[in-house]
Amino acid sequence: MLLQMRQITKTYGNLTANSNVDFSLRQGEIHALVGENGAGKTTLMRILYGMEQPTAGDILLNGKEVAFSNPTDAIRHRIGMVHQHFMLFPSFTVAENIVIGNEPKSGLKFDRKKAVKQVEALCAQYRLPIDPNKKVADIPLGMQQRVEILKVLYQGADVIILDEPTGVLTPLEAKELLVIMRNLANQGKSFIIITHKLHEVMEIADRVTVLRDGKVTGELDAGATNVEELSKLMVGRDLLPTNKSDVRLGETVLQVKDVSIMGGKGKPVLDKVSFHVKAGEIVGIAGISGNGQSELIQAISGLQFIDHGEIRLLGDNLKGRSVREIRDIGLSHVPEDRYQWGAAKEGTVLENGTMGHHRTTSRKGFLQGKELRQMVDGFIQQFQIKAGSQDAKVKYLSGGNLQKLIVAREIAQKQPFLIAAEPTRGVDIGAMELIHEELLRKRDEQGAILLVSSELTEILKLSDRIIVMYEGRIAGEISAENATEEQISLWMAGGVSHA
């Protein structure tokens, strides 16, 4: 056994994030760590990486007991971690991001030329091509993920921890990553991967450890289990397949006509986009992220000006309307990036749950504190959000739990129109089911939903109509019955439309 974590317990105050967890890793294996949101996966891995100290328990590496008081210790023992949240320096170049901490020097000078060479060599060695001179801020998320992995490889890690690495990747990028992992494992590297996508687990993992409420509920060989068993171990119950009722279309709620937004480099980021969403339907927007979806969402919700065209919500022209006015007309919005747009980390659960309800749940300019508290309590109950209390700061919530809070908040606005951008990003399968059910219920109640997702399965499962975006244009549109994964993938990759 390469690595063993024995009887690890970690408490934060009176919250137990890990309770007597045993975990082991073999040389050259890919070990998946799965579990509900807040089950304690990230915490366990942060302990292994020296970012947290366990309250009890010990770690054995090659049979020898080790203690990591900070990441440097872990790195020295050839353990590397790719975090759930990027740990990159956006204004630095790719090469700088990879070599930082162990920079090539000539004298006191940071030899950037050599860094670029080393990174190029590294890329070649592991067959992970990337332009080392680009600024990280300018490269797509998939590439940023690659930078993180290269960074760990550069540090010489033999044990590589990946915390939800495919969370923001496109299906294609995710597939690529899995291939890379398998290659590296064959070269002797060992992986721990945290993911909520059980099909990925089945595809890549050799072994699986399941956590629930900070305890291990199972350690299995991947070959000897299936998605159903895993999800039962995770959630503690069977998951019911979601049923989708027939569409009952109402009037047009959102009308987008010839909308264009000019980008910085003369190339439009949105190019004459037209579509509509009717009451009672879910329109899914598929596409590799970075093809104009973000701009489209922001334009509709009033966060970005459009250069050309017209957007109407319930017949109202949104030109020149503020976010607030648009929300008053009838918009609710699950944003694609929960930390940037969706939440105030320093705010409490209550404060974050209040946004958007603060004007409606008020009297004469005063917030109705009691009602708001009850409402947020409702969110917590309904979505089983694990939060210490309503007054806990949101920054202490696990990613998935925050996502649930945001979805709950926006659905509760009860607006005729909902933008749901990556609504299940980072949430566990149980919560995903719940969110999907809620979205479908909203549709059945004659709500209009624009679903933007990089998860093709999600798009196919929920949408009544699917639009594919490519380079700021609509590459194709197809109804759910006629949609096939192949067709959509082709459009997403820029293939010619024959619709």
Partner: protein, 355 residues
Amino acid sequence: MLKSRFPISAWVQPLLAVIIGLIGGAIAISLIGGSVIDTYAQMWKGAFGNFFFITNTLTRATPLILVGLGVSIAFRAGFFNMGSEGQMILGALSSAMIAIYLPGPALFKLLAAILGGIIAGGIWSAFAGWLDAKFRMNLIITTLLMNYIAALFAGYMVAYPFKDKTGSAALAQTMMIEKGVWLPKLFQGMSIHGGFIIAIALAVLLYLFVKYTVAGYEIRMLGYNPLFAGYGGVNRGKVMLASMFASGGFAGLAGAIEVLGMQYRYTDGMITNPGYAWSGIMATLLSGAHPLGTAIAAVLLAALQTGGMGVERNTSIPLEISSVIQSLLILFVTAKFSYTLWKRRKGGKGDAASS
């Protein structure tokens, strides 16, 4: 679990800090051969020794509270207003001019002078906000620079066109305001005046405003994360102008009240020399921009100052050392002792982003 941790550090921490601050001060005192106990006794006496000294301390706290409240509004909205000094100066100057030159009954003049002070301070501050919103000029720099401009402008006004030509006429100051327009003193023969009541009332109102109103909520969210606020329909530009206006308005009010309640005229340097603005900013930061906390911190800072004066009057400790003790106390009061110690004991590390 977060709940259970909070009250411990909330009480232990400032207490410990004060104790360590006092020990630090004691070292300074004994280094120069003073009596520690006597010095602290005099300090306490100078600040809270009897009713007279208590009111003295509260008088001194009045402008600090108001300035601190102003800074805290902007701070809550995410803007660092370092321009309280200039805003206070313009507020003081305008209210003095209104009180002197506006015709009409006394009460009307008093109200107009207060309002004038608020508006002058508010506009000066909102102008900096506008420069930020419109031209992306860094608010910290603009507000800092505008302090100098305001001070020089006010200095010119009272050295030349509106100089007091009665009396010795040697100081750059306006004429004295007629007695009817003065803010009433609360007690005969004591310096405390109506401004203190205004300051405390505003601290409570601001606390209620920030905590319970829709606008207060929007301001807080903007301060936490402007993107989140924008997404939720908060207009950053508008809230910025409004909160900067309010912030400067409070500073302007502080200036007006210092004129109408204490000095009864605007004198060049009356705002800058006592360092009201800096103390106000400190009060805000010490309290984490909590309005009631700001008021308490302001009283604490004022007590350190009046206590220092007591030390100066009644011991052989030189004036300079009492200012050293003051700054030492402040330094340690801000330090997070218990928290750090707690962390050490736990062996835990900082609160890096958790997911």
